[in-house]
C-alpha cells in the first residue's frame, strides 16, 4: 500500500494543501509509465520474435532453393502464410 505509507512518512500532508492531488499525480504518472513500458516491451518482443522466425524460415527456404535449383517448386509457402496471418493481427492490435 503505497499511499498510506507515503502519507505517514511524509512530514505533514494537510488536506487543504492539496496533498491527495499531488500524490495522485505522482502515482498515476508512475503507473502509466510502468504499464506503458511493459506493454511496449511485450509487444516489441512478440513482433521481433515473429520477425526472427519468419526470417529463419525464409533463409532456410532460400538456402534449400539455392542447393537444389533444378528441383520443382519448393513446398514452403504454407509456412509463411500461417506466419503472415498471425503477424497481421499483432500489428493491428
Amino acid at each position: 500500500m503505497t499511499v498510506p505509507s507515503v502519507l505517514l512518512q511524509a512530514d505533514t500532508i494537510p488536506e487543504d494543501s492539496g496533498g491527495p492531488y499531488v500524490i495522485a499525480a505522482y502515482l498515476v504518472f508512475l503507473v502509466i509509465a510502468v504499464v506503458y513500458l511493459s506493454i511496449m516491451a511485450q509487444r516489441l518482443r512478440k513482433v521481433s520474435k515473429q520477425a526472427d522466425e519468419i526470417e529463419a524460415r525464409l533463409d532456410a527456404r532460400d538456402a534449400a532453393q539455392a542447393a537444389a535449383p533444378a528441383a520443382a517448386a519448393p513446398a514452403q509457402p504454407p509456412v509463411a502464410d500461417v506466419e503472415r496471418s498471425d503477424a497481421r493481427d499483432e500489428v493491428v492490435s
Binding site: 512530514d11 516491451a41 518482443r45
Partner: protein, 240 residues
C-alpha cells in the same frame, strides 16, 4: 538500438524515476511558503522542459528530412512529436493540479508556462490531422517535416510573447525559484527528477522507433515470403 540495450535503458529509467520520486517525498524539504503542494513542481517542471526539448528535436529531424530525404528522419520527427504531445498533456494536467492546490482553481490565465503549453498543445494537435490527410507518402513526409520546423520556430516565440503579455497585463511581485536560487536539497531532487523523466522520455522514444522499425522488417519479410517484393517504397510513418 538493440532490444537488450533498450531493456537496460528501461530498467535504468524505472530505477531513476523510483529514486527521484523517493527523494521528492522523503528527502526534499517542505517549501516554507507552499508546503506539500509545491512537490508537484518536481514532476511538472521537468515534464515541461523535456516536452519542449522533444518538440525542438522534432524540428531538427524535420529539417534533416528536408535536407536528406531519409525516411528515418521523418519517422524520428513523428515519434518525437507524438511523445511530446503526450508529455504536453501531462504538463497541462500537473499544472492544473498545482493551480488547484495553490489557488483553488484548475486554470489561471496568468501562468505563462501553462498558457504557453496550451498554445503548443493546440498547434501540435494538428500535426497528425495534417499528416494523415495527405495521401501521397512523399508529400506527407515533406509537409509534416515543414510543419515540424514551423512549429519548432513557434515554440520560443510563443513563450516570449505569452510571458511578455503576462508581465504587461498582470505584473507580479513574487517569482518563486528565480529570486535567490534553489536550496541544495531542492536542487538535487529537481535535477534527479529531471534526469529520470528525460531518461524515461528517451526510452519511450526508442521503444516507438524500434517497434516501428521491427514492424517494417516484419512487413518486408511478409512481402519476401509472398514473393511480391516489388511494392513501391512508402513513407515510413504511413506503413506503421
Amino acid at each position: 538500438m538493440t532490444v537488450r540495450g533498450l531493456r537496460l535503458l528501461s530498467i535504468l529509467s524505472v530505477v531513476l524515476v523510483a529514486v527521484g520520486f523517493g527523494l521528492v517525498f522523503f528527502y526534499a524539504p517542505l517549501d516554507t511558503d507552499q508546503g506539500f503542494r509545491q512537490k508537484i513542481f518536481y514532476l511538472h517542471v521537468p515534464l515541461g522542459i523535456v516536452g519542449l526539448c522533444g518538440f525542438i528535436v522534432a524540428a531538427w529531424h524535420g529539417f534533416r528530412y528536408l535536407r536528406t530525404g531519409d525516411p528515418a528522419s521523418d519517422l524520428r520527427a513523428y515519434v518525437y512529436i507524438h511523445m511530446s504531445q503526450i508529455v504536453a498533456v501531462a504538463v497541462l494536467i500537473t499544472g492544473g493540479i498545482w493551480g488547484k492546490t495553490a489557488w483553488g482553481t484548475w486554470w489561471r490565465w496568468d501562468e505563462p508556462f501553462l498558457v504557453s503549453f496550451l498554445f503548443l498543445f493546440l498547434i501540435y494537435a494538428t500535426y497528425q490531422v495534417l499528416r494523415f490527410s495527405i495521401d501521397d507518402p512523399q508529400r506527407q513526409a515533406r509537409a509534416a517535416s515543414a510543419f515540424a520546423i514551423a512549429a519548432g520556430a513557434f515554440v520560443p516565440v510563443n513563450f516570449t510573447v505569452v510571458r511578455m503579455a503576462n508581465q504587461y497585463l498582470h505584473p507580479r511581485t513574487l517569482d518563486n525559484a528565480a529570486n535567490g536560487g534553489l536550496p541544495g536539497p531542492v536542487l538535487v531532487t529537481f535535477l534527479i527528477c529531471f534526469l529520470a523523466i528525460a531518461t524515461l522520455f528517451v526510452t519511450l522514444v526508442r521503444y516507438e522507433l524500434l517497434s516501428k522499425s521491427t514492424t517494417f522488417r516484419l512487413r518486408s519479410l511478409e512481402r519476401r515470403a509472398g514473393g511480391d517484393d516489388l511494392l513501391p517504397r512508402r513513407s515510413a510513418v504511413l506503413q506503421a
